[in-house]
């Protein structure tokens, strides 16, 4: 046996060493850098954040080791995806991490960014942006519409639109990875959206040059995790929930809660039984139940089969209220 047996203390010391060293390595990577222009991958929804990100880059709160580990895993996964999609499928990735710039009318670079690369396809280069995410987020994203649901994903959309605009490209691909498999989502250049992003950047650029900040406006989904919250110091306005003390109402809610599993059981059984009696016009079960069935027909309009322009003529927006009841 070439090595001595390890003791409990050895194993314990090794665990402490690994934990400490890993923490140190992650911490050493955490840093902040000066910015001269807006970053295309970080077009935030808060105007004030955008100004802070350049004028106060040195006061930005640093992220923690846990988040750094996620960034590291994301970078590593970008390589893995390129391997899975690229080398294993015989596709060639080119111009990886190629930089691009957005200029204003005066020719000043107001934003800059990078795209993960392009895939050569039939002699043409298709831009791709790889985003890795956890299983929950991965399952939530199935279309471009799903990107609009969260501030972070909306940033991805703006990044891709600016890239397509800045490089005069008609379309690109998002490759979403859950660290095992991928989803491919097609993005087309939206001139209206690009105009809106760029005019906003131009307005903010002028504020940045003047050293002025937009008025702070508290939005929990943006502000609670903002790295500039300790210098922005926005007034926080919260609206309280209604607290209702009504025994009868509470009893009804309790009863509703009790009945909920029975509803599911009823629906499952109903479905199963009706499937059993499909195509059977008349039957008895034991001496207690008579089952009658008949074929019926109804007329309906298949909206999905309609040409899109015709369907759009009949689209109308209605507002409705959703009430979710959750036991706490």
């Amino acid at each position: 046996m070439p090595y001595a047996f390890a003791t409990y203390q050895d194993a314990s010391d090794l665990a402490d060493f690994i934990a400490q060293k890993r923490h140190d390595v992650l911490n050493a990577k955490i840093n902040r850098y000066p910015k001269r222009a807006f970053t295309c991958s970080d077009i935030h929804e808060c105007d004030r954040y955008m100004i802070h990100s350049i004028l106060d880059w040195d006061k930005r709160e640093l992220h923690d080791a846990g988040l750094q580990a996620i960034f590291d895993a994301g970078n590593k996964e970008e390589e893995n995806v390129k391997n899975r999609i690229g080398y294993e499928l015989g596709l060639e990735f080119i111009e990886t991490q190629s930089p691009f710039e957005i200029k204003n009318r005066a020719g000043e670079v107001i934003a800059s960014g990078k795209i993960d690369g392009k895939i050569l396809w039939n002699g043409k280069a298709v831009p791709v942006e790889i985003k890795s995410m956890n299983e929950n987020s991965f399952n939530q994203i199935n279309s471009l519409e799903d990107f609009k649901k969260k501030p972070l994903y909306r940033k991805y959309l703006r990044q891709m639109q600016l890239y397509l605009y800045g490089n005069n490209q008609e379309a690109g691909l998002f490759i979403i990875s859950n660290f095992r498999t991928e989803k491919l989502i097609l993005v087309t250049l939206d001139y209206g959206e690009c105009e809106s992003i760029i005019s906003r950047l131009e307005r903010l650029w002028e504020m940045k040059k003047a050293g002025t900040y937009p008025t702070a406006e508290y939005k929990p989904e943006l502000c609670d995790r903002c790295p500039f919250s300790s210098i922005c110091l926005a007034d926080v306005i919260n609206h309280p929930a209604d607290f209702i003390n009504n025994e009868e109402l509470e009893e009804h809610l309790m009863r509703r809660d009790e009945l909920e599993p029975l509803v599911k059981e009823y629906k499952d059984l109903d479905e199963e039984i009706k499937a059993t009696f499909k195509q059977i016009p008349h039957a008895f079960v034991g001496t207690s139940f008579e089952i009658i069935g008949k074929e019926q027909s109804r007329k309906s309009v298949d909206a999905k089969a309609m040409p899109e322009d015709l369907r759009k003529q009949y689209e109308r927006e209605t507002t409705f209220w959703i009430t979710k009841i959750k036991r706490i």
Partner: protein, 245 residues
Amino acid sequence: MCETNEIISVNPVNSQVDLIDDIFAAANRRIQQLEQIVVMSIKRTNHNDWVDQGGKPYLTCSGAEKIARLFGVCWKNVKNEKVISTDELGQFYFYECTGEFTLGSDVITAIGTCSQKDQFFAKTKEGMKPASEIDETNIRKAAYSNMVVNGVTRILGIRNLTWDQVKAGGVDTSQISKVTYAKGGNGGGRISEAQAKHFFAICKQSGKTDEQIKEYLSSTYKIDSSKEIKTSDYEAICKWAEGNE
């Protein structure tokens, strides 16, 4: 029909007993409301919103923000200022963050501070980090976070909660992080759970009783539990446990 000159007769409040009854009734209502606030507040949080600090539950800023939204606690006129101070070791700075917290018509001023000497940011095995190695944004942010936690918990009257209350609110306390430094290499930290178990195993092998261990830790290191053993003292304590010292 009400006329302008109508005489309204009221029952006279003729004794102090009635007044005291009213005060008691109001106080009881207030107690019930406060109990409800505590329960609802905790239910709004999860294990990520709490840390075990020195054996007591401490609400984090994220938890305080969730609770603030539930009850409509607002804050404004926030100032976060750097203050230069001195002590026997020389000059140092701290951030003092103040803000006006409101809940309905109640208004309080809350303060949160964090010093360059804060042990979470500044302590190492060798002592205090020099100022150049401390990220000032962390100190400023911590002062702000402390102000939010202080303001929200004070105005709602939910300070000094117990583990029983936190558990009763449905929070999985076994998943709550502890503020220790054993694995983080920050020095001056506490030993890991594995080390504590190892220490007990040595004590049992050498025949030491729980009373003897408690007495030794208390008299020599001024601590009540093996969880509080500092990593720097661990070796010496293990030697004692083996009976060599």
